[in-house]
Symmetry: C2
Subunit: 354 residues, 2 copies
């Protein structure tokens, strides 16, 4: 493998000194880029794009051609695991992901096959290898998965939801069944992320998109506990380097103390959290990633720069911060705005380091 | 006016001793009740029901006939103000509220009429008077409004939203216009709530349903500041009694310290917050209301009772707690479940008082 030329991102995740605050954007390869829309049109559907390693590599690299990003992230979907389990993932325009065969009963849960990611999600591993090779050491490659709770939400609801009625009914009426499902998913996610690491992912992030809909107490038992189990089962060193793991619970700002004791290297923050408060609360136990409101990218350049400056000041001097948005970049953003954002992070953060 | 027979709710909001923890449910007059669905069918549309004082009174009282609730809440909609401003509120089945004439430009904002609630929202005041008289002192009546930020979200987006793109673009590109809109709304809400108080509302709640989508910093400037201005302008005494005000920001658990310094008597909590932590954080500056996950009402009676017991224990001994759900009761709840919930609050809370 090629030598890594820019290791700011990996260093910051381990709390090591850097010259600039590293920055990347969740969903950085996406619909706001005209070149992404062109690749997707060539692929056919979104899933066809995910399942074609050459095209997945192409779109992964597109934002790096435009912006001075400090990391690349595998282009894929968070629902590849349940898809490989045979639930029949599909996408309806404007409706988000759907499953043809949602999981509702004990029999459904017991019938879920145990995956071998290297075989059953071979196309993901091929994409990781292809991207890693194409990056040629320019920046590190991030692998990822949905959290067990988040996968379970989609699998039980059969798609997105506003009230999460089916899964919460399962949780409150049949907690032992809920745990049985989450245990299977934790095993599958651990295996999946380890396969990505062996294929070349240099850091991994667990997206707990729906952890924030859980009640205090239920979050710890039904989401965090399973992410913690995954963290404990991950390969933490590969190719002679630490492979950092990032946990991102959207709406999880109230649980930072518990998240920072999970064994993860870094915690992702959404935009409702004060970065300085968050830094005090995690008290050096892990690094932080975040947390600009993605909607700031709709603002004028001067406002974008001012928001970057404000967040850098909140975090303060020293390492342990990876700049990011508080959630994925939105499709209506002008592709010129991320350049203003990313350049501002590098330029304005210099004074906080070294 | 009839003497008030049950003042637990008003006493708890002021941190005064009570014999049992008072309890009510947000959206307690609603679609989960067959008698509500019958009244609504007679009224025609949801808005027809809101605008008919006799029917609004009828549905307000329905949950009190089934459950030992410690408060009634005016049956109305949070969007009555923009409707009275001429935006053309309507409801599409399964889509939530919509406006025929969303507010998008400076001209739209400047053209918004200044309301006189007693005249322009006369039907609401008639409903308050009718309900208050029908209650005959059984329990206090709560009036309410949406917060300026929450009203603005619907007015600018034209309805519900997932990404709040239009209003956040307005906020980040034209903050002075955003403030102009919020100022007008704060004046209107203050006038509206004072009219409800004069008509007979004995406490008022401001629903900041969408405050939680704002970034740290933006929340304080664009939502909390305007709720604080309203609190400062409210009649705080009427009929020789304190009229308590409750602020409820869904997703506002990170901002409890600021909320508790707003001058409000109580802060509503969603289910992501630990009640004991919240009590420590507000440090006696105000009372707390909440915060059971509404989905617990899908559980078996034993689980509902266990959740009530857990939350009572989290809050601990002494006054200053009004039990509630962390959000509105959902339409698919079995009408037997709230009885289990409400009876459990009264029965299990006795040991924490007196």
């Amino acid at each position: 493998m090629a030598e890594l030329h820019n290791d700011r991102f990996l260093r910051a995740l381990q709390g090591q000194a850097v010259d600039r605050t590293p920055v990347w954007m969740m969903r950085q390869a996406g619909r706001y880029l005209p070149e992404y829309r062109a690749s997707r049109a060539r692929a056919g559907s979104f899933l066809d794009l995910c399942k074609n390693p050459e095209l997945a590599c192409e779109v992964t690299l597109q934002p790096l051609a435009r912006y001075e990003l400090d990391a690349a992230i595998l282009f894929s979907d968070i629902l590849t695991i349940p898809d490989a389990m045979g639930l029949g993932l599909y996408f309806e325009e404007g409706e988000g992901p759907r499953f043809r065969h949602p999981v509702r009963t004990e029999a459904d849960i017991l019938a879920l096959p145990q995956l071998r990611a290297e075989v059953d999600l071979d196309y993901v591993m091929q994409a990781v290898t292809t991207i890693r090779s194409a990056l040629a050491g320019r920046v590190p490659l991030i692998g990822f998965s949905g959290s067990p709770w988040t996968l379970a939400c989609y699998m039980v609801q059969g798609g997105s939801s506003r009230d999460f009625r089916q899964i919460k009914t399962l949780l409150y009426r049949s907690p032992e069944l809920m745990h049985a499902l989450l245990e299977r998913l934790a095993v599958a996610v651990t295996d999946y992320l380890n396969a990505q690491i062996r294929a070349g992912a240099q850091a991994v992030q667990i997206f707990d998109t729906w952890g924030g809909v859980l009640a205090e107490g239920a979050y710890q038992a039904f989401s965090l506990a399973y992410m913690q189990r995954i963290v404990a089962g991950l390969l933490r060193e590969h190719e002679g380097r630490r492979v950092p793991v990032i946990l991102f619970t959207k709406g999880g700002g109230g649980w930072l103390e518990a998240l920072s004791a999970s064994g993860a290297d870094a915690i992702g923050l959404d935009w409702t959290v004060h970065l300085g408060d968050a830094r005090r609360r995690v008290a050096g136990r892990c690094a932080l990633q975040g947390n600009m409101d993605p909607a700031v990218l709709y603002a004028e350049p001067a406002t974008i720069r001012a928001e970057v400056a404000r967040l850098l000041e909140q975090y303060g001097a020293g390492p342990g911060h990876v700049f990011n948005l508080g959630h994925g970049i939105e499709q209506h953003v002008d592709p010129d705005a991320p350049k203003v954002f990313i350049d501002a992070v590098h330029e304005l953060s210099a004074g906080y380091h070294g």
